[in-house]
Symmetry: C2
Subunit: 198 residues, 2 copies
DNA sequence: CCACTTGTAGAACCCGAAGTATACATATAG
DNA sequence: CTATATGTATACTTCGGGTTCTACAAGTGG
């Protein structure tokens, strides 16, 4: 007890890693992304997030106004990263490698955006800028090979979500041969498109 | 005001349609299925359900122990109907027409089961009997055309969910030509399978 | 006509989780 | 060395929504 007052107990626990504000904010966003990606907004408590970040709840409030504010920041960053990695894609076949890159770069954010946020009424707006554009462009591309009608609607509704699910399934499968993964997923998408043709 | 004390106000409102217990229970389950199918368990309040059923909250508690109990009853009935309509399917191509029949017969229940309940940790168990079996059988069928490896995992993870999404998209598209819808969806599934082959 | 069931209306209670407050500890820049 | 930013710990308040309770109204079968 002479040299250090910190070591009162047997376990002298690491002396608390401190970060500067901006870095801590990022670290919290990382942790929150992981936590939210497990169960979505409603089912994830602030305690879960604090535990994931190895912090107390109080610290969360020093960086974010509220749970909703934190969630928005998480989604915003995930959207931003996605946009940066893919680069304003056209949602044709050329977009698939970009999606694979984006999903690899930020798997938790990717899953969160498309497995959960897409179905949460209060926050769907935040990613609508992405999904709306992709649906629109996707539909235009489809219209070149599928005649107007219910089966075009069917394909246009189905394919964007399917493409994203295929990418997530690729993540879940351990990201096998990244060289040709895009080709396979594109082939799968074409298979679905073919089924919608007359 | 002479013949009827009920008509105190201008609008004599229909004299409250009464049902016997069992029928009312079914009617509540119908309404709750619709309400839950819009936003899932957490985001749906008892007030929403009561409004949908055109009843007061108190009545809900005369028929169900709790919100969770009601939800379980809703899911159970939807599972039961599904099982009855499809009849212990094998989740090969022969199952697709059965799924279309089931989705047509109970669209709200179908959507609820596979769009929401499948992602709700607390209740997933209730439909796991279905999804687990379908995944298992589906994987065995896939293993006949795809060699063991990550792409088999990929397809096995992706296809069951995709099939269900394809059925829901068909509902959303207005159920076009039911005669050949199963063929188209089967073709789409085959297209995905083909993409997983070497 | 009576008893019973089905129904309304709404206040009150309760609990978990979000959000707030205060006191204290200590790395680290300057 | 000291000031300050970063952090812990914990108790407290607030709030929404599920749950309970009480009081009353009225259709229906025996």
């Amino acid at each position: 007890m002479s040299t250090s007052e910190a070591g009162e107990e047997a376990a002298a626990a690491q002396p608390v890693r401190r970060l500067r504000r901006a870095e801590r904010r990022e670290q919290i966003l990382d942790a929150a992304t992981r936590a939210f990606a497990r169960a979505g907004y409603a089912a994830t408590g602030l305690d879960d997030i604090a535990a994931e970040a190895a912090l107390t709840r109080a610290m969360l409030y020093r960086h974010f106004e509220s749970k909703a504010d934190l969630y928005r920041a998480v989604l915003d960053r995930a959207c931003l990263r996605l946009a940066e990695t893919t680069g304003a894609d056209d949602f044709d076949d050329a977009a698939i490698p970009a999606l694979l890159r984006a999903a690899s770069a930020d798997p938790d954010g990717f899953r969160l955006l498309f497995r959960y946020a897409a179905r949460e009424p209060d926050f769907r707006e935040l990613i609508d800028s992405i999904t709306a554009a992709s649906r629109e462009v996707g539909r235009r591309n489809l219209a070149r090979v599928i005649p107007e009608g219910p089966w075009l609607d069917w394909a246009a509704n189905l394919i964007p979500g399917f493409t994203l699910e295929a990418v997530i399934a690729w993540l879940d499968a351990g990201r096998p041969d990244p060289e040709h993964a895009a080709e396979r997923i594109a082939a799968a998408v074409h298979g679905v498109m073919a089924a919608a043709q007359p």
